[in-house]
Symmetry: C2
Subunit: 360 residues, 2 copies
């Protein structure tokens, strides 16, 4: 089958928009990430928020991953249900409802959680008590991104001490998401925090770093024991722009139909913000159309993507099916209940996005 | 129960983030829109893309709506299944898969579709043939928004003629989405297009206008027979900014928990781009926090909302549950499988977002 045959078949069998993933490319990406981790002597703990699929998580495990990373209890529940039993929930868990679920999860899987403040730490013993099992906790540290995480070494050490003092909790180490341009600062933070906890008789057994772009600098931060990368399993236009993936590494494309032309320099796709999402990832335009790379997906309505074709010599016709590499793949997967799985130009079946919609 | 009791109960029973809709407010909004339509002598055909709920569509019908508007065949299928049988699919439908489904839908419900180009019109007789029933088609006209729709009167008239000439199709009229600042231009377009089709012996029995802000100018465009408003059923921060809704008209809020503070002027919510979406609706910040209106939801990670609290005197604490009016409510509903339904401060139950995920 040719790519044109595949496009026609996907449109005929599933309709467009369809979110299509090539498992051959996925396997190559998984092997590549595992190879980078192995070469750096760092365990691989991929973040499943990108694919939300226990099947793909199993492919990652079978490829050599030590365990998985989840962002939400709901994601971890779906993964544990499917047999994944070494899970880092990289999130501040708090509130009665979530602590109850965390306790239940901990009773049936090995779970580690992250915390960046004493309020969260104070709640976690409840989950450990429910499970009747120790809950390891890593201290999330912010070394420059201004996202979650303690911002000072003193806070990191104090939180480690707090964790170690709580019934049912153990201090497990540190979780980082190093800015790509702040490796030295991250190293300094980690060294000082590690020295600080060792003075208290604590050992950071886990030092977890994260991010797909950081795969290229794996091993540069001494002391890192494992890495969490999400996007690398599929890649996207952000990763192309960052130079960490090539076109042939992009496993996921959105198949869309041109439903209107509305003028010589305009076109309209049947994919808008409810499919490709308004997350630009900081890029101009909303995706790369493989068949018309000079076309710009300029703006969205909910179910329409509006094309600026002024830079295109070869312009699409109404009825054409095109393939789009989205700017940010993680949020696109999150829009659908199922992915269409292909290998090369053959349809293999459908892959449920089993952990989609598990917001809490 | 107080609002604080309700917040605690929602967090305890459903976890956060939770998308909560107050059916008392929904009922008031439905009655208000119906009243505006009645006063203008225009039929009400609400767009269900906002709520995707057959239950709320029934509330709109029972409130006096003539029928409903859907954007996707998948939405219309869900609504028809629930007994809604007067449906405008306001979209260019094309491709074998969708035409087959449209034919099947037409055999069991009254369906009208929109078209803005001859390629789409050429395909529609297939659906009519499958149903063995005439398919009414409205010509979508663009009077300035540069979205979908023919851009000239000549194209509108030619497309009407094309429709009327096809087996199984009937020309039903025009569909507009008038820019709020182009009422005169829209009137001129409509008058000329209507005169043009009448010269051909065709009558625009339906002239459909759209948009929640345009509810305030209903009746100003002569010849309009029905109106499609979506957002008005819930309202959102865009509608507040546009002056077409007040705080008490906002039926939907996202309940979120503060999971970290990360510094005196920062805070982190457990709701990011996978809940509130990156759709800004053209506004600064990503939502209005009712408890802390001076807090700015400055940016997102997928599962984190990062707060700028520098303008706040009263700053939230970790563990606080807050209510957020999202910038654009239609895309937020689309992220969840269920809404938590309340009336005032009482939880009523859950409302499935039955047509969510029906991208095609």
């Amino acid at each position: 089958m040719s790519i044109e045959d595949l496009k026609a078949k996907v449109a005929r069998e599933f309709g467009t928009p369809a979110v299509v993933v090539d498992l051959d490319v996925v396997e190559r990406n998984i092997a590549r990430v595992q190879g980078l981790c192995d070469a750096a002597g760092v365990a691989n703990r991929p973040h499943i928020k990108t694919h939300k699929s226990p099947v793909i998580a199993s492919m990652q495990r079978d490829g050599g991953a030590r365990g998985i990373t989840c962002q939400k209890i709901g994601e971890a529940e779906v993964m544990a249900e499917a047999g994944h039993d070494d899970i880092l929930v990289a999130y501040n868990i708090l509130g009665e409802e979530k602590l109850g679920r965390l306790g239940s999860l901990l009773s049936r899987a090995r779970v580690t959680v992250a915390a960046d403040n004493p309020t969260v730490v104070a709640g976690l013993p409840e989950a450990a008590a429910i499970a009747g099992r120790e809950l390891p906790v890593v201290v999330e540290c912010d070394t420059g991104r201004k996202r979650a995480g303690v911002e000072t070494v003193a806070e990191a050490v104090a939180l480690a001490k707090d964790i170690a003092s709580r019934p049912g909790l153990s201090f497990a180490g540190f979780m980082l998401y190093p800015p790509e341009n702040a490796m030295a600062e991250t190293q300094a933070f980690l060294d000082a925090a590690s020295a600080g906890v060792r003075e208290l008789g604590l050992e950071p057994q886990i030092v977890s770093s994260g991010g797909t772009p950081n795969l290229l600098s794996l091993g540069k931060i001494e002391g890192v024991t494992e890495h969490r990368a999400g996007t690398s399993v599929f890649n996207d236009r952000m990763m192309l722009a960052a130079g960490v993936a090539q076109l042939q590494d992009c496993a996921l494309t959105v198949y869309a139909t041109v439903v209107s032309r509305a003028g010589p320099e305009r076109g309209i796709l049947d994919s808008g913000s409810k499919t490709l999402t308004s997350d630009t990832g900081g890029l101009e335009g909303h995706g790369l159309i493989l068949e018309h790379p000079q076309a710009k997906i300029a703006r969205f309505a909910e179910e329409h993507g509006f094309l600026d074709l002024s830079a295109c010599n070869d312009r699409p016709n109404i009825g054409d099916v095109v393939r789009i590499i989205p700017n940010h793949v993680c949020v696109v997967v999150n829009m659908v209940d199922r992915l269409v799985a292909v290998r090369g130009h053959d349809i293999i079946g459908e892959l449920p996005v089993a952990a989609r919609g598990r917001l809490a």
